[in-house]
């Protein structure tokens, strides 16, 4: 079967700047696929090439087996949820949702019924006659979603849709997005710079850096086995271990990344060190240890068990890491 979205040699240049470099990517039908990366990493450009807002400099975009590279946005079977929602300010909520159906020539009664159904799916029934400026950010977000799904696209493209929402609302919308995707059973392509969001929601994540996909895999792959320094530091937090530190910890002779929650303190056979910092974050303590004689620091997490903080600055501890818990990093081509 054909992939839902197939990119081949996708290349986009703006003047002298390469935004996307010869990208090959397959996104499967029904998949929740995230494109994760810092701003300027090319992820949004890829999304805009899929939607048709940008014409690639070279390369092709195929949707469900059909090459759409030369097609205008209105001729593509995908819909977009924009970062700033892009609701039509002069139209009511229901008219915004009906817009695509009206353009497609769907009759008034069916239009209304489908728009109301879509508003129900995003839990925004009862707001039909409001204007966008009368809604909160979260409500506008829902209208933008309803407006896109009402057309029953084969794939939904979401450009940092939760970026403008506050944390609480964002977490709630994450759950709802996931549920909506399951319910609709269509492909979601989700662009975000928030690694938490990408890990929480996705079936697969593509990590972008400087116009390239630097790692592609399940959230677990990407989190547990970051391939290089960039991914290890961008996705979640981790301590980067230089080769001599890896060796001292008995992990091999290669640069490695280790997640703080996989670092154990005071287990037998550990490397000695001094606690440099104890940071209380609520659910856990973040403990930074200066390793003796290595000139390196490592961070460990210990859950907040409710007992009075047992560790403090200056305490002597030993540090150990399970070999399976450390991810070997690829040598940096520019590190030499």
């Amino acid at each position: 079967m054909d992939s839902a979205i197939r990119l081949r040699g996708l290349h986009k240049r703006y003047g002298d700047t390469v935004a996307v470099a010869d990208l090959d990517l397959d996104i499967e039908a029904g998949e929740f696929f995230s494109m994760l990366g810092p701003s300027g990493s090319g992820k949004t450009t890829v999304l805009r090439c899929i939607a048709g807002f940008e014409q690639p400099t070279r390369g092709s975009v195929a949707l469900f087996g059909t090459d759409v590279t030369a097609l205008a946005p209105f001729a593509r079977p995908v819909n977009t949820v924009f970062q700033d929602y892009a609701l039509f300010p002069h139209l009511s909520v229901i008219a915004n949702v009906e817009y695509g159906l009206r353009v497609a020539g769907v009759g008034r009664r069916e239009r209304r019924a489908r728009a109301e159904e879509a508003l129900g799916q995003v839990r925004l029934a009862g707001f039909e006659d409001r204007r966008p400026h009368e809604l909160s950010g979260g409500q506008r977000q829902r209208v933008a979603l309803a407006r896109a799904i009402v057309l029953r696209p084969q794939a939904l493209l979401l450009d940092e849709p939760l970026g403008a929402l506050d944390l609480k609302l964002r977490e709630q919308m994450q759950v709802e997005l996931k549920e909506l995707q399951r319910e609709l059973g269509i492909t979601f392509v989700f662009v975000t710079h928030d690694q938490d969001e990408a890990l929480t929601l996705s079936d697969r994540v593509a990590v972008f850096d400087a116009g390239e996909v630097v790692q592609l895999g399940t959230p677990r792959d990407v989190y547990d086995h970051p391939r290089n320094r960039f991914i290890a530091s961008f996705v979640g937090s981790s301590t980067l271990l230089e080769p001599q530190v890896s060796a001292a910890l008995g992990l091999g002779s290669q640069a490695m990344a280790v997640r703080p929650e996989r670092v154990t303190l005071d287990a037998p056979g550990g490397v000695p060190g001094t606690i440099a910092e104890v940071i209380y974050t609520g659910p856990e303590h973040r403990i930074v240890v200066d390793l003796d004689g290595l000139g390196a620091r490592i961070t460990a997490l210990e859950p907040n068990t409710g007992a009075q903080n047992s560790r403090s600055r200056g305490d002597r501890v030993t540090v150990s890491v399970e070999p399976a818990a450390a991810a070997p990093l690829e040598a940096e081509p520019d590190a030499a």
Partner: protein, 288 residues
């Protein structure tokens, strides 16, 4: 008192600050607009001594009744209104594509050049521009030269000349607000419309035009009201055509009947007030 102590004195006294800020302009506006308009209104109800030609403070509704019922005034009012409407429509038709190109298609460099090009004629004297049109429209003018190969003639001096000249004169005032209006339509909305299946034309009709309607109306207020009060252009390129402004001018000058002139000038004021009242609801007045 030093500057510092004046500031310290004023800082907690918001009302005094506002009063200091607004008193001079309010006085000026009050004198120039309100008092002058009121004087005009009052003058319309006075009379002129037929012998001496002196204005007399003798109350009468004769002038106003004459202006409202006289056939001459009705004809000239309708003609003036027709010219103003035509000029407004022509300017909008020309301005919308130009403004769209400026705001949405032109690159920044081109956009700046176009803004300068649109505004540059405003630096030239009104009279120079109208006389330039007089030359263009003359029987040996550029228009005659350009259209004669097609068996056509220059429209010459008359209503057509007036409409063409006024359309030219007020075009910048129509382009600028519409340009600003287009500029306020985010590109994202055009993308969203295309994303939802709309082709360019549908997007224009369903999204762009409704959003820039206030801007178009704002532009129309300029073209319409400036045309309504004009008399110099008519005098120079209008041939024998008369607009309301010409009647006012004649009565102030040659006929020496200030009260009648005041009464006539109430007509365009009334029309403009009606027009403003009609467009008030559209939000256009916030786009000026």
């Amino acid at each position: 008192m030093t500057t510092r102590s004046v500031s310290a004195f004023l800082a907690p006294r918001r009302r005094l600050q506002l009063a200091g800020l607004l008193t001079p302009p309010v006085l000026w506006l009050g004198l120039v607009y309100v008092v002058a308009l009121a004087a005009l209104l009052v003058t319309a109800f006075w009379t002129v001594d037929e012998l001496t030609g002196q204005v007399q403070i003798e109350w009468t509704t004769e002038n106003v009744v004459e202006v409202l019922t006289g056939a001459l005034y009705r004809t000239v009012t309708l003609r003036t209104l027709g010219i103003a409407i035509l000029v407004t429509v022509i300017d909008i038709i020309v301005a919308v594509p130009v403004a769209f190109f400026m705001a949405k298609i032109a690159r920044p460099r081109m956009r700046h050049l176009l803004v300068i090009a649109v505004l540059a004629p405003l630096w030239a004297s009104y009279l120079v521009k109208v006389y330039a049109w007089r030359a263009l429209l003359s029987s040996e003018g550029l228009i005659e030269w350009a259209v004669s190969p097609f068996g056509l003639d220059t429209p010459g001096y008359g209503i057509v000349g007036v409409v063409l000249t006024l359309s030219y004169l007020w075009l910048p005032y129509v382009i600028m607000p519409i340009y600003a209006g287009f500029d306020r339509v985010p590109d994202r909305l055009l993308e969203a419309s295309a994303d939802l299946g709309a082709k360019g034309w549908t997007t224009l009709v369903a999204v762009v035009l409704p959003m820039i309607r206030p801007a178009i109306i704002a532009g129309s207020i300029f073209a319409f009201s400036l045309s309504l009060g004009d008399y110099i252009t008519t005098g120079i390129v209008g041939g024998t055509t008369q607009m309301l402004g010409n009647l006012v001018y004649t009565n102030v000058g040659a006929a020496n009947n200030l009260p009648l002139a005041a009464a006539i000038s109430l007509i365009p004021i009334g029309i403009i007030l009606l027009y403003l009242a009609a467009v008030r609801r559209t939000g256009a007045l916030r786009s000026l």
